[in-house]
Protein backbone atom coordinates (compact mmCIF):
# COMPACT_ATOMS: atom_id res chain seq x y z
CA UNK A 1 0.00 0.00 0.00
CA UNK A 2 1.25 3.54 -0.76
CA UNK A 3 2.43 6.17 1.72
CA UNK A 4 -0.11 8.26 3.60
CA UNK A 5 -1.01 11.46 1.77
CA UNK A 6 0.65 13.90 4.18
CA UNK A 7 -2.01 13.49 6.91
CA UNK A 8 -4.48 15.32 4.73
CA UNK A 9 -8.22 14.66 5.14
CA UNK A 10 -9.64 13.24 1.93
CA UNK A 11 -13.18 12.27 1.05
CA UNK A 12 -12.64 8.64 2.18
CA UNK A 13 -11.54 9.86 5.62
CA UNK A 14 -14.65 12.04 5.78
CA UNK A 15 -16.92 9.17 4.73
CA UNK A 16 -15.27 7.02 7.43
CA UNK A 17 -15.87 9.75 10.01
CA UNK A 18 -19.50 10.30 8.98
CA UNK A 19 -20.08 6.55 9.05
CA UNK A 20 -18.78 6.13 12.62
CA UNK A 21 -20.69 9.26 13.70
CA UNK A 22 -23.96 8.13 12.15
CA UNK A 23 -23.80 4.74 13.88
CA UNK A 24 -22.40 6.08 17.15
CA UNK A 25 -20.10 3.10 17.39
CA UNK A 26 -18.92 0.27 15.15
CA UNK A 27 -17.37 -3.10 15.82
CA UNK A 28 -14.03 -4.10 14.34
CA UNK A 29 -15.81 -6.49 11.96
CA UNK A 30 -18.12 -3.74 10.73
CA UNK A 31 -15.15 -1.44 10.15
CA UNK A 32 -13.43 -4.19 8.14
CA UNK A 33 -16.46 -4.71 5.90
CA UNK A 34 -16.85 -0.96 5.55
CA UNK A 35 -13.20 -0.62 4.52
CA UNK A 36 -13.87 -3.05 1.66
CA UNK A 37 -16.82 -0.88 0.56
CA UNK A 38 -14.53 2.16 0.60
CA UNK A 39 -12.06 0.35 -1.63
CA UNK A 40 -14.83 -0.42 -4.12
CA UNK A 41 -15.98 3.20 -4.04
CA UNK A 42 -12.66 5.04 -4.20
CA UNK A 43 -10.41 2.59 -6.04
CA UNK A 44 -8.43 4.47 -8.69
CA UNK A 45 -8.96 7.93 -7.21
CA UNK A 46 -5.79 10.03 -6.86
CA UNK A 47 -4.22 9.43 -3.46
CA UNK A 48 -6.29 6.36 -2.57
CA UNK A 49 -4.13 3.35 -1.74
CA UNK A 50 -4.03 0.45 -4.17
CA UNK A 51 -5.68 -2.58 -2.60
CA UNK A 52 -6.43 -5.74 -4.52
CA UNK A 53 -9.65 -7.17 -3.08
CA UNK A 54 -9.29 -10.20 -5.34
CA UNK A 55 -5.77 -10.99 -4.14
CA UNK A 56 -4.46 -13.51 -1.58
CA UNK A 57 -6.48 -13.46 1.64
CA UNK A 58 -3.58 -12.67 3.98
CA UNK A 59 -2.29 -9.89 1.77
CA UNK A 60 -5.78 -8.42 1.41
CA UNK A 61 -6.30 -8.45 5.18
CA UNK A 62 -2.96 -6.79 5.79
CA UNK A 63 -3.65 -4.06 3.24
CA UNK A 64 -7.12 -3.44 4.61
CA UNK A 65 -5.70 -3.25 8.14
CA UNK A 66 -3.23 -0.65 6.91
CA UNK A 67 -6.06 1.33 5.30
CA UNK A 68 -8.09 1.21 8.51
CA UNK A 69 -5.08 2.38 10.45
CA UNK A 70 -4.66 5.33 8.08
CA UNK A 71 -8.35 6.23 8.31
CA UNK A 72 -8.18 6.08 12.11
CA UNK A 73 -4.92 8.00 12.50
CA UNK A 74 -5.45 10.72 9.90
CA UNK A 75 -9.01 11.40 11.03
CA UNK A 76 -7.94 11.62 14.66
CA UNK A 77 -5.13 14.03 13.88
CA UNK A 78 -7.70 16.36 12.32
CA UNK A 79 -10.29 15.81 15.07
CA UNK A 80 -7.80 16.59 17.83
CA UNK A 81 -7.86 20.29 16.82
CA UNK A 82 -11.55 20.45 17.77
CA UNK A 83 -11.48 18.18 20.85
CA UNK A 84 -12.96 15.07 19.30
CA UNK A 85 -11.59 11.59 18.79
CA UNK A 86 -12.59 8.26 17.36
CA UNK A 87 -11.65 6.01 20.25
CA UNK A 88 -10.81 2.35 19.82
CA UNK A 89 -11.25 -0.28 22.54
CA UNK A 90 -12.29 -3.87 23.17
CA UNK A 91 -15.23 -5.53 24.88
CA UNK A 92 -14.23 -6.82 28.31
CA UNK A 93 -15.76 -10.27 27.82
CA UNK A 94 -15.17 -12.68 24.96
CA UNK A 95 -17.91 -13.30 22.42
CA UNK A 96 -17.28 -16.27 20.10
CA UNK A 97 -13.70 -16.58 21.33
CA UNK A 98 -12.68 -13.00 20.57
CA UNK A 99 -12.67 -9.71 22.44
CA UNK A 100 -14.66 -7.69 19.93
CA UNK A 101 -13.09 -4.39 18.98
CA UNK A 102 -15.18 -1.22 19.16
CA UNK A 103 -14.79 2.25 17.57
CA UNK A 104 -16.74 5.18 19.01
CA UNK A 105 -16.91 8.87 18.08
CA UNK A 106 -16.29 10.77 21.32
CA UNK A 107 -16.11 14.44 22.31
CA UNK A 108 -13.12 14.93 24.58
CA UNK A 109 -14.76 17.70 26.58
CA UNK A 110 -18.30 17.96 27.66
CA UNK A 111 -20.41 21.06 27.33
CA UNK A 112 -23.34 20.48 29.63
CA UNK A 113 -25.69 22.77 27.77
CA UNK A 114 -24.94 21.12 24.46
CA UNK A 115 -25.17 17.63 25.98
CA UNK A 116 -28.72 18.45 27.07
CA UNK A 117 -29.68 18.88 23.43
CA UNK A 118 -28.88 15.26 22.74
CA UNK A 119 -32.04 13.26 22.54
CA UNK A 120 -30.97 9.62 22.34
CA UNK A 121 -31.86 9.12 26.00
CA UNK A 122 -33.92 11.25 28.36
CA UNK A 123 -32.35 12.69 31.52
CA UNK A 124 -34.11 10.00 33.53
CA UNK A 125 -32.71 7.26 31.31
CA UNK A 126 -29.22 8.74 31.52
CA UNK A 127 -29.48 8.81 35.30
CA UNK A 128 -30.54 5.14 35.19
CA UNK A 129 -27.51 4.33 33.04
CA UNK A 130 -25.22 6.04 35.54
CA UNK A 131 -26.85 4.08 38.38
CA UNK A 132 -26.14 0.89 36.44
CA UNK A 133 -22.51 2.02 36.01
CA UNK A 134 -22.12 2.45 39.78
CA UNK A 135 -23.59 -0.99 40.37
CA UNK A 136 -21.48 -2.74 37.75
CA UNK A 137 -18.34 -0.99 38.98
CA UNK A 138 -18.70 -3.10 42.12
CA UNK A 139 -20.52 -6.20 40.90
CA UNK A 140 -18.90 -6.38 37.41
CA UNK A 141 -21.83 -8.30 35.95
CA UNK A 142 -25.53 -8.50 36.73
CA UNK A 143 -28.65 -10.33 35.65
CA UNK A 144 -31.47 -8.50 33.90
CA UNK A 145 -33.65 -8.70 37.00
CA UNK A 146 -30.99 -7.05 39.10
CA UNK A 147 -30.60 -4.23 36.59
CA UNK A 148 -34.33 -3.68 36.34
CA UNK A 149 -34.62 -3.49 40.13
CA UNK A 150 -32.06 -0.67 40.10
CA UNK A 151 -34.68 1.53 38.45
CA UNK A 152 -36.20 2.05 41.90
CA UNK A 153 -33.18 4.19 42.74
CA UNK A 154 -33.84 6.58 39.85
CA UNK A 155 -36.08 9.67 39.92
CA UNK A 156 -35.04 13.21 39.28
CA UNK A 157 -38.12 14.98 38.00
CA UNK A 158 -40.09 17.39 40.14
CA UNK A 159 -42.76 14.83 40.90
CA UNK A 160 -40.08 12.17 41.69
CA UNK A 161 -41.44 9.91 38.97
CA UNK A 162 -39.40 6.74 38.81
CA UNK A 163 -39.01 4.42 35.86
CA UNK A 164 -41.43 1.53 36.08
CA UNK A 165 -40.05 -2.00 35.78
CA UNK A 166 -41.59 -2.29 32.32
CA UNK A 167 -39.95 0.97 31.24
CA UNK A 168 -36.67 -0.14 32.81
CA UNK A 169 -36.77 -3.41 30.86
CA UNK A 170 -37.30 -1.50 27.63
CA UNK A 171 -34.51 0.94 28.47
CA UNK A 172 -32.05 -1.87 29.27
CA UNK A 173 -32.76 -3.38 25.85
CA UNK A 174 -32.18 0.03 24.33
CA UNK A 175 -28.83 0.36 26.16
CA UNK A 176 -27.83 -3.02 24.70
CA UNK A 177 -28.88 -2.11 21.16
CA UNK A 178 -26.85 1.11 21.40
CA UNK A 179 -23.81 -0.79 22.68
CA UNK A 180 -23.69 0.75 26.17
CA UNK A 181 -24.39 -2.59 27.82
CA UNK A 182 -23.55 -6.07 26.58
CA UNK A 183 -25.79 -9.06 27.16
CA UNK A 184 -23.70 -12.19 27.47
CA UNK A 185 -26.24 -14.96 27.04
CA UNK A 186 -23.58 -17.64 27.03
CA UNK A 187 -22.81 -17.21 30.71
CA UNK A 188 -23.70 -20.66 32.02
CA UNK A 189 -24.87 -19.59 35.44
CA UNK A 190 -27.53 -17.24 34.20
CA UNK A 191 -28.53 -18.72 30.84
CA UNK A 192 -32.08 -19.36 31.98
CA UNK A 193 -32.60 -15.82 33.23
CA UNK A 194 -31.46 -14.23 29.96
CA UNK A 195 -27.72 -14.21 30.54
CA UNK A 196 -25.74 -11.50 32.29
CA UNK A 197 -24.97 -7.91 31.51
CA UNK A 198 -21.77 -5.95 31.73
CA UNK A 199 -20.65 -2.51 30.59
CA UNK A 200 -20.11 -2.21 26.86
CA UNK A 201 -16.91 -0.92 25.28
CA UNK A 202 -18.86 2.02 23.86
CA UNK A 203 -19.84 3.22 27.31
CA UNK A 204 -16.31 2.84 28.64
CA UNK A 205 -14.91 4.76 25.66
CA UNK A 206 -17.52 7.55 25.64
CA UNK A 207 -17.76 8.12 29.36
CA UNK A 208 -14.08 7.58 30.15
CA UNK A 209 -13.69 10.98 31.86
CA UNK A 210 -16.95 10.69 33.76
CA UNK A 211 -16.08 7.15 34.93
CA UNK A 212 -12.69 8.25 36.22
CA UNK A 213 -14.20 11.23 38.05
CA UNK A 214 -17.30 9.60 39.50
CA UNK A 215 -16.73 5.90 39.95
CA UNK A 216 -14.11 4.09 41.94
CA UNK A 217 -13.14 1.92 39.02
CA UNK A 218 -9.92 -0.04 38.89
CA UNK A 219 -7.20 0.63 36.35
CA UNK A 220 -5.67 -2.23 34.41
CA UNK A 221 -2.01 -2.59 35.42
CA UNK A 222 -1.04 -3.48 31.85
CA UNK A 223 -2.76 -0.80 29.74
CA UNK A 224 -3.59 1.72 32.53
CA UNK A 225 -7.20 2.07 31.35
CA UNK A 226 -10.40 1.65 33.36
CA UNK A 227 -11.42 -1.96 33.85
CA UNK A 228 -14.62 -3.51 35.20
CA UNK A 229 -14.65 -7.20 34.33
CA UNK A 230 -11.19 -7.83 35.64
CA UNK A 231 -8.72 -10.56 36.49
CA UNK A 232 -7.07 -10.13 39.89
CA UNK A 233 -3.56 -11.06 40.74
CA UNK A 234 -3.86 -14.11 43.10
CA UNK A 235 -0.96 -12.90 45.26
CA UNK A 236 -2.28 -11.88 48.69
CA UNK A 237 -0.73 -8.43 49.00
CA UNK A 238 -0.79 -7.56 45.33
CA UNK A 239 -3.76 -5.38 44.33
CA UNK A 240 -3.13 -5.48 40.61
CA UNK A 241 -6.05 -6.11 38.28
CA UNK A 242 -6.07 -6.65 34.54
CA UNK A 243 -8.40 -6.70 31.57
CA UNK A 244 -9.07 -10.31 30.65
CA UNK A 245 -7.59 -9.63 27.23
CA UNK A 246 -4.47 -8.03 28.76
CA UNK A 247 -4.11 -11.01 31.11
CA UNK A 248 -4.43 -13.48 28.22
CA UNK A 249 -1.77 -11.74 26.16
CA UNK A 250 0.71 -11.92 29.04
CA UNK A 251 -0.61 -14.22 31.81
CA UNK A 252 1.76 -13.10 34.59
CA UNK A 253 1.40 -10.21 37.01
CA UNK A 254 3.56 -7.34 35.82
CA UNK A 255 4.89 -6.70 39.34
CA UNK A 256 4.96 -9.92 41.37
CA UNK A 257 5.14 -12.27 38.34
CA UNK A 258 2.46 -14.61 39.73
CA UNK A 259 0.54 -16.52 37.03
CA UNK A 260 -2.85 -14.93 36.39
CA UNK A 261 -5.88 -17.24 36.43
CA UNK A 262 -8.70 -16.55 34.00
CA UNK A 263 -11.67 -18.70 35.06
CA UNK A 264 -15.30 -18.09 34.26
CA UNK A 265 -16.52 -14.65 33.24
CA UNK A 266 -15.48 -12.32 36.04
CA UNK A 267 -13.74 -12.27 39.35
CA UNK A 268 -15.40 -10.30 42.14
CA UNK A 269 -13.40 -8.30 44.63
Amino acid sequence: MGKRDGNKMRDWHRVFLQKVMSQGYMSGKEIFVFAMCLVEKFDGMPGFPKINLGGAEDEKKAELAELIDDLYTTTNEALEKINFQIKRGCQEVKEDDTYEQCYAFVPLEENQQIAKCQKIFSEQELEYLKTICHHLATEKIATEMKLINLCMQVGISANRKKLSTIEASRVVRSFVSHGYLVNNRKHSRAKSSGGTYHLGARLILELETWLKDNIEADLCRACKKVVFVSVECPMKNCDNVYHRQCAESKPKCRDCKQPLKIDGVATKR
Binding site: R14, V15, T75
Partner: protein, 260 residues
Protein backbone atom coordinates in the same frame (compact mmCIF):
# COMPACT_ATOMS: atom_id res chain seq x y z
CA UNK B 1 -0.91 27.17 6.06
CA UNK B 2 -4.62 26.36 5.85
CA UNK B 3 -7.38 28.95 6.03
CA UNK B 4 -8.37 27.66 9.48
CA UNK B 5 -4.82 27.85 10.79
CA UNK B 6 -4.43 31.42 9.48
CA UNK B 7 -7.69 32.54 11.07
CA UNK B 8 -6.76 30.89 14.38
CA UNK B 9 -3.44 32.72 14.38
CA UNK B 10 -5.17 36.06 13.68
CA UNK B 11 -7.64 35.54 16.53
CA UNK B 12 -4.94 34.56 19.02
CA UNK B 13 -3.01 37.72 18.19
CA UNK B 14 -5.94 40.12 18.04
CA UNK B 15 -8.00 39.03 21.05
CA UNK B 16 -5.35 37.97 23.57
CA UNK B 17 -6.87 34.55 24.20
CA UNK B 18 -5.03 31.31 24.85
CA UNK B 19 -4.89 28.50 22.31
CA UNK B 20 -6.80 26.22 24.72
CA UNK B 21 -9.54 28.82 25.11
CA UNK B 22 -9.86 29.25 21.36
CA UNK B 23 -9.89 25.49 20.78
CA UNK B 24 -12.65 25.06 23.35
CA UNK B 25 -14.86 27.79 21.87
CA UNK B 26 -14.48 26.37 18.36
CA UNK B 27 -15.00 22.79 19.55
CA UNK B 28 -18.19 23.82 21.38
CA UNK B 29 -19.46 25.56 18.23
CA UNK B 30 -18.72 22.47 16.11
CA UNK B 31 -20.48 20.23 18.65
CA UNK B 32 -23.49 22.55 18.74
CA UNK B 33 -23.76 22.55 14.94
CA UNK B 34 -23.56 18.74 14.78
CA UNK B 35 -26.01 18.11 17.62
CA UNK B 36 -28.52 20.75 16.47
CA UNK B 37 -28.38 19.37 12.95
CA UNK B 38 -29.37 15.90 14.19
CA UNK B 39 -32.91 17.26 14.37
CA UNK B 40 -32.43 19.04 11.04
CA UNK B 41 -33.60 22.25 12.67
CA UNK B 42 -32.53 25.63 11.45
CA UNK B 43 -29.61 26.72 13.62
CA UNK B 44 -29.94 30.19 15.04
CA UNK B 45 -26.82 32.19 15.76
CA UNK B 46 -28.30 33.50 19.00
CA UNK B 47 -28.90 29.94 20.28
CA UNK B 48 -25.41 28.83 19.30
CA UNK B 49 -23.79 31.83 20.99
CA UNK B 50 -25.73 31.15 24.19
CA UNK B 51 -25.08 27.41 24.25
CA UNK B 52 -21.36 27.91 23.64
CA UNK B 53 -21.12 30.57 26.33
CA UNK B 54 -19.88 33.20 23.86
CA UNK B 55 -22.13 35.87 25.35
CA UNK B 56 -19.58 36.67 28.04
CA UNK B 57 -16.83 37.11 25.46
CA UNK B 58 -16.02 40.05 23.21
CA UNK B 59 -18.96 40.25 20.80
CA UNK B 60 -16.60 40.66 17.87
CA UNK B 61 -15.29 37.13 18.52
CA UNK B 62 -18.62 35.51 17.68
CA UNK B 63 -18.49 35.67 13.91
CA UNK B 64 -14.84 34.55 13.55
CA UNK B 65 -15.45 31.63 15.94
CA UNK B 66 -18.45 30.53 13.89
CA UNK B 67 -16.40 30.92 10.72
CA UNK B 68 -13.59 28.83 12.17
CA UNK B 69 -16.05 26.13 13.23
CA UNK B 70 -17.48 26.18 9.69
CA UNK B 71 -13.99 25.76 8.18
CA UNK B 72 -13.34 22.73 10.40
CA UNK B 73 -16.73 21.21 9.61
CA UNK B 74 -15.99 21.57 5.92
CA UNK B 75 -12.43 20.25 5.99
CA UNK B 76 -12.82 17.48 8.57
CA UNK B 77 -16.42 16.32 8.18
CA UNK B 78 -17.20 17.37 4.59
CA UNK B 79 -20.14 19.39 5.90
CA UNK B 80 -20.86 22.91 4.67
CA UNK B 81 -22.37 25.53 6.98
CA UNK B 82 -24.70 27.56 4.82
CA UNK B 83 -25.66 30.98 6.09
CA UNK B 84 -29.27 31.69 5.15
CA UNK B 85 -28.36 35.39 5.63
CA UNK B 86 -30.71 38.22 6.57
CA UNK B 87 -31.79 36.13 9.53
CA UNK B 88 -28.48 34.93 11.11
CA UNK B 89 -29.53 31.32 10.71
CA UNK B 90 -27.67 28.36 9.33
CA UNK B 91 -28.24 24.91 7.89
CA UNK B 92 -25.69 22.17 7.42
CA UNK B 93 -25.36 20.64 3.97
CA UNK B 94 -23.55 17.34 3.55
CA UNK B 95 -21.19 17.92 0.62
CA UNK B 96 -20.44 14.21 0.46
CA UNK B 97 -24.00 13.71 -0.84
CA UNK B 98 -22.49 14.54 -4.23
CA UNK B 99 -20.62 11.24 -4.01
CA UNK B 100 -23.63 9.36 -2.61
CA UNK B 101 -22.37 9.05 0.95
CA UNK B 102 -25.96 8.18 1.86
CA UNK B 103 -25.38 4.59 0.72
CA UNK B 104 -22.99 4.15 3.67
CA UNK B 105 -24.96 5.90 6.39
CA UNK B 106 -27.50 4.26 8.70
CA UNK B 107 -31.06 5.42 8.63
CA UNK B 108 -33.72 4.34 11.09
CA UNK B 109 -37.12 3.31 9.67
CA UNK B 110 -38.51 6.61 10.89
CA UNK B 111 -35.77 8.68 9.23
CA UNK B 112 -36.14 6.73 5.99
CA UNK B 113 -39.93 7.24 6.00
CA UNK B 114 -39.57 10.97 6.65
CA UNK B 115 -36.95 11.44 3.93
CA UNK B 116 -38.95 9.31 1.51
CA UNK B 117 -42.12 11.32 1.97
CA UNK B 118 -40.21 14.62 1.87
CA UNK B 119 -38.71 13.62 -1.46
CA UNK B 120 -42.10 12.67 -2.87
CA UNK B 121 -43.59 16.02 -1.84
CA UNK B 122 -40.62 17.91 -3.33
CA UNK B 123 -41.11 15.96 -6.57
CA UNK B 124 -44.82 16.79 -6.61
CA UNK B 125 -44.08 20.50 -6.17
CA UNK B 126 -41.37 20.42 -8.84
CA UNK B 127 -43.59 18.73 -11.41
CA UNK B 128 -46.41 21.15 -10.60
CA UNK B 129 -44.38 24.14 -11.74
CA UNK B 130 -42.72 24.71 -8.37
CA UNK B 131 -45.82 25.28 -6.25
CA UNK B 132 -48.89 23.36 -5.18
CA UNK B 133 -51.91 24.44 -3.25
CA UNK B 134 -52.72 22.91 0.12
CA UNK B 135 -55.79 21.04 -1.01
CA UNK B 136 -54.02 19.41 -3.94
CA UNK B 137 -51.08 18.37 -1.76
CA UNK B 138 -53.21 16.63 0.83
CA UNK B 139 -55.43 15.08 -1.85
CA UNK B 140 -52.29 13.55 -3.30
CA UNK B 141 -51.18 12.26 0.10
CA UNK B 142 -54.64 10.81 0.58
CA UNK B 143 -54.36 8.85 -2.69
CA UNK B 144 -50.94 7.66 -1.55
CA UNK B 145 -52.68 6.14 1.45
CA UNK B 146 -50.74 8.06 4.09
CA UNK B 147 -53.28 10.75 4.97
CA UNK B 148 -56.90 10.72 6.03
CA UNK B 149 -58.82 13.70 7.36
CA UNK B 150 -62.03 11.71 7.83
CA UNK B 151 -63.37 12.39 4.34
CA UNK B 152 -61.61 9.59 2.48
CA UNK B 153 -64.60 7.22 2.70
CA UNK B 154 -66.87 9.99 1.28
CA UNK B 155 -64.62 10.26 -1.71
CA UNK B 156 -64.86 6.53 -2.28
CA UNK B 157 -61.46 5.70 -0.88
CA UNK B 158 -60.28 3.32 1.81
CA UNK B 159 -59.77 5.31 5.01
CA UNK B 160 -57.66 2.61 6.63
CA UNK B 161 -54.10 3.79 7.05
CA UNK B 162 -51.73 1.18 8.43
CA UNK B 163 -50.93 1.66 12.08
CA UNK B 164 -47.21 1.35 11.37
CA UNK B 165 -47.39 4.19 8.83
CA UNK B 166 -49.33 6.42 11.23
CA UNK B 167 -46.78 5.77 13.94
CA UNK B 168 -43.88 6.83 11.71
CA UNK B 169 -45.47 10.28 11.45
CA UNK B 170 -46.70 10.45 15.05
CA UNK B 171 -50.28 9.93 13.91
CA UNK B 172 -50.70 13.32 12.25
CA UNK B 173 -49.37 13.82 8.76
CA UNK B 174 -50.69 17.38 8.39
CA UNK B 175 -48.76 18.32 11.52
CA UNK B 176 -45.66 16.59 10.15
CA UNK B 177 -45.88 18.62 6.93
CA UNK B 178 -46.61 21.97 8.56
CA UNK B 179 -44.58 21.79 11.75
CA UNK B 180 -41.69 19.55 10.79
CA UNK B 181 -41.13 20.15 7.08
CA UNK B 182 -42.18 23.82 6.98
CA UNK B 183 -41.53 25.40 10.36
CA UNK B 184 -38.67 23.36 11.76
CA UNK B 185 -36.67 21.83 8.93
CA UNK B 186 -37.46 24.33 6.14
CA UNK B 187 -37.69 21.66 3.46
CA UNK B 188 -40.93 23.36 2.46
CA UNK B 189 -42.14 26.92 2.45
CA UNK B 190 -45.81 27.81 2.92
CA UNK B 191 -47.17 30.95 1.30
CA UNK B 192 -50.49 32.60 1.86
CA UNK B 193 -52.15 34.09 -1.21
CA UNK B 194 -55.13 36.37 -0.65
CA UNK B 195 -57.31 36.17 -3.70
CA UNK B 196 -60.08 38.44 -2.59
CA UNK B 197 -61.67 39.65 0.62
CA UNK B 198 -63.38 36.34 1.18
CA UNK B 199 -60.87 33.78 0.09
CA UNK B 200 -57.29 32.96 0.68
CA UNK B 201 -55.23 29.97 -0.34
CA UNK B 202 -52.05 28.40 0.91
CA UNK B 203 -49.35 27.15 -1.41
CA UNK B 204 -46.35 24.92 -0.71
CA UNK B 205 -43.00 25.55 -2.39
CA UNK B 206 -39.46 24.24 -1.95
CA UNK B 207 -37.95 25.68 1.24
CA UNK B 208 -34.43 26.98 1.90
CA UNK B 209 -33.08 23.58 2.98
CA UNK B 210 -34.44 21.81 -0.10
CA UNK B 211 -32.93 24.52 -2.33
CA UNK B 212 -29.57 24.00 -0.61
CA UNK B 213 -29.53 20.21 -0.34
CA UNK B 214 -31.47 18.85 -3.30
CA UNK B 215 -30.80 19.17 -7.00
CA UNK B 216 -34.03 19.56 -9.01
CA UNK B 217 -32.45 17.50 -11.81
CA UNK B 218 -32.00 14.58 -9.38
CA UNK B 219 -35.64 14.73 -8.31
CA UNK B 220 -36.75 15.03 -11.92
CA UNK B 221 -34.75 11.94 -12.91
CA UNK B 222 -36.39 10.03 -10.07
CA UNK B 223 -39.82 10.98 -11.43
CA UNK B 224 -38.84 9.91 -14.96
CA UNK B 225 -37.61 6.65 -13.50
CA UNK B 226 -40.95 6.04 -11.76
CA UNK B 227 -42.86 6.72 -14.97
CA UNK B 228 -40.23 4.88 -17.05
CA UNK B 229 -40.04 7.65 -19.62
CA UNK B 230 -37.53 10.00 -21.22
CA UNK B 231 -37.06 13.44 -19.59
CA UNK B 232 -38.30 15.11 -22.75
CA UNK B 233 -41.76 13.61 -22.11
CA UNK B 234 -42.13 16.29 -19.44
CA UNK B 235 -40.91 19.06 -21.74
CA UNK B 236 -41.95 22.07 -19.69
CA UNK B 237 -40.34 20.80 -16.49
CA UNK B 238 -37.30 19.49 -18.38
CA UNK B 239 -36.63 22.90 -19.98
CA UNK B 240 -37.16 24.78 -16.73
CA UNK B 241 -34.79 22.55 -14.77
CA UNK B 242 -32.10 22.61 -17.44
CA UNK B 243 -32.28 26.40 -17.46
CA UNK B 244 -32.15 26.55 -13.67
CA UNK B 245 -29.07 24.32 -13.47
CA UNK B 246 -27.55 25.63 -16.67
CA UNK B 247 -27.48 22.21 -18.31
CA UNK B 248 -27.69 21.40 -21.98
CA UNK B 249 -29.53 18.25 -23.05
CA UNK B 250 -26.17 16.56 -23.58
CA UNK B 251 -25.00 17.59 -20.07
CA UNK B 252 -28.19 16.14 -18.65
CA UNK B 253 -27.66 12.83 -20.44
CA UNK B 254 -23.98 12.69 -19.38
CA UNK B 255 -24.91 13.47 -15.78
CA UNK B 256 -27.49 10.72 -15.90
CA UNK B 257 -24.92 8.19 -17.16
CA UNK B 258 -22.42 9.06 -14.43
CA UNK B 259 -25.14 8.72 -11.75
CA UNK B 260 -25.73 5.17 -13.00
Amino acid sequence: MSQAANLSKELLNEYNISNDDLQKMVSDAVTYFLVADQKKSIIRKADLVKACDLTRRDRKLQDPIIKLAALHLNNIFGIEVRDLSKTSTYILVNKLSEINVGEFLNWSDREAAHMGLTFIILALILMNNDRINEEALFDFLRTLGVYDDGTTHIRGGNPQIEEEVLELFDGDLRKFVNETLVSRQHYLKKERVVQNEESEQYFYLWGDRAEAEVKPSMVFKMVCGVFKCEPSMFKEQFDRIRQRENLSEEDFALQDQSDK
